[in-house]
Symmetry: C2
Subunit: 347 residues, 2 copies
Amino acid sequence: MQYKLVFVGFGNVARALARLLVRKQAVLEKEYGITFSVTGIATGKHGFAVREGGLDIQKALKLVEEGESISPLSEAPVKDSLEVIRKSRAEVMFENSPVNHSTGQPAIDHVRAALEAGMHAITANKGTVVHGYRELTALARSRGRKFLFESTVLGGSPVFSVFREAMPAAELLSFRGVLNSTTNIILSRMEKGETFDQAVKYCQSIGVAETDPSADVDGWDAAIKVAALVTVLMDLPCLPQQVERQGIRDIKPEDIKQAAAKGRRYKLVCSAERKGDKVSARVRPELVPVSDPLYGMEDSTTGVAFRTDVLGDYSIIESEREGMVAGPEPTAYGLFADFVNAVKRGD
Amino acid sequence: MQYKLVFVGFGNVARALARLLVRKQAVLEKEYGITFSVTGIATGKHGFAVREGGLDIQKALKLVEEGESISPLSEAPVKDSLEVIRKSRAEVMFENSPVNHSTGQPAIDHVRAALEAGMHAITANKGTVVHGYRELTALARSRGRKFLFESTVLGGSPVFSVFREAMPAAELLSFRGVLNSTTNIILSRMEKGETFDQAVKYCQSIGVAETDPSADVDGWDAAIKVAALVTVLMDLPCLPQQVERQGIRDIKPEDIKQAAAKGRRYKLVCSAERKGDKVSARVRPELVPVSDPLYGMEDSTTGVAFRTDVLGDYSIIESEREGMVAGPEPTAYGLFADFVNAVKRGD
């Protein structure tokens, strides 16, 4: 079947997704009977475009990457994201606007508009999950569509879909992991002798920390991911503000040295435990020994161990590959996988 | 919908599955609309029984565990497994007969008979995968049924279903892991000062090693699991005999001490790498440093890191929980998950 796609947000991740779709075109058609065209793109700084017969993806990528506007590609004037969604007449929307941790907007409006127009809505935006999961999931169900967000936790590595598709009727009791790669890189570099400030500067230089690194180092990004996992996998609504939170600012190089002398390491540990219909969730630095599965997660490696009522502890870890710089490709793959899962039917 | 189930083999794993199905009855009905009855059981030593209206599961469990025959529960005389499969008129068969590494029989005949009778066939038997994957999968497809085997690798933890359901169109390039828990327990205990023979005796005492420990310590169990992963996930038929194989018999306590002094550990490493339409696959002891994800897999913990063309390295680890003795429950859950996945339709 042919699917029309609309992109809201066309930054690094969305563009990596566009490239991945093109690269996987043959296998999508052969294995899943999926073909596609892109009928709408809304960008933050490079204009808007819709075309019912399909936009030229390569041209759109080139224009944005050269700092030009994509508006000349449009067959009709469009003035904002919501209009692009409507006029695209797409079956699938990919939402990749910037995250707003405190309200989830405007991403939630984009997802709502897409679902109401009968599209599947797929996003890498954590704000939509912690601020809109129940409403948007109910809306999707009522329209016979999917609201999916695999890329919000552990890059694009399968986590939500593992529980949804591969662990039926399992009850999640607790989890524990490392969810924020920036703080993990900082701690790994401090172990090698850098100061906190030097390590933060390094992360800024490779593009994994913002100018104001507070979202990472004060544990907000980790807390929003904990809240997303609790909200979805334990089916208990949880806001980032409800996660007990302590960042890594107070860890001194001396603390790290002393820990190393005892064969231990600091990790910014994310955990949650269900107690009936309540959950206790926290983000805080902990000293972990070599025997702890978190000990081996160095640099940008992140992962979570899940405790259920049916298996031994089940851990999922995404490690950066040697020599590979963290890029948008894994996150793009999570969106890609959500797309295939949303439209495929049992064979 | 109501499903009739038939059990071929009614040992520890199959009985744990029967108990799990009973425990999860309410959630199966509520979340998936699944109800079930058991219309046939074939055992190795405790007879055979069929009953179209459903056998009394608790009575069957009790009889087998008290060493009695289940034949009195049967509404008609049945003389062997194939007759139980046929007469059960079930929709789903669970195959748990003993593994035959060199031919996969009689499990393959059981799976074939079930699929030909229009049943889904679900098994924890590795022999069926390495000796029958292509044939049985094609047969299942031609009948609109499923042949599933999640429990054959990493206990019942999701691996095959993660690739099938959660990682569409991903290409597996290579993998590396620890797949045999008995040898891993032996190596962990030798690190704590036991001799090889003492560690083997311990494994025999807790029921994880056979009287003849050769299948584990010479790497055959690991090799058959490597062959299963290659056969299914790389879609390249691979027999255990085609896996380069070296066991752990030659590792001396001195070797382990010397390694520890250098911060290293022996692991029986299972790996495979795809090269075009060929694969090089091996099982052999390797010295791994602390920074290696395999280093932290102690005792009965097993796991694999998968390298694909779309993500960072994606690892799945199943750890024994503190204080829990390895039991049949996780393997039973893998069969349970296959059942739900075989019969559920997209919602």
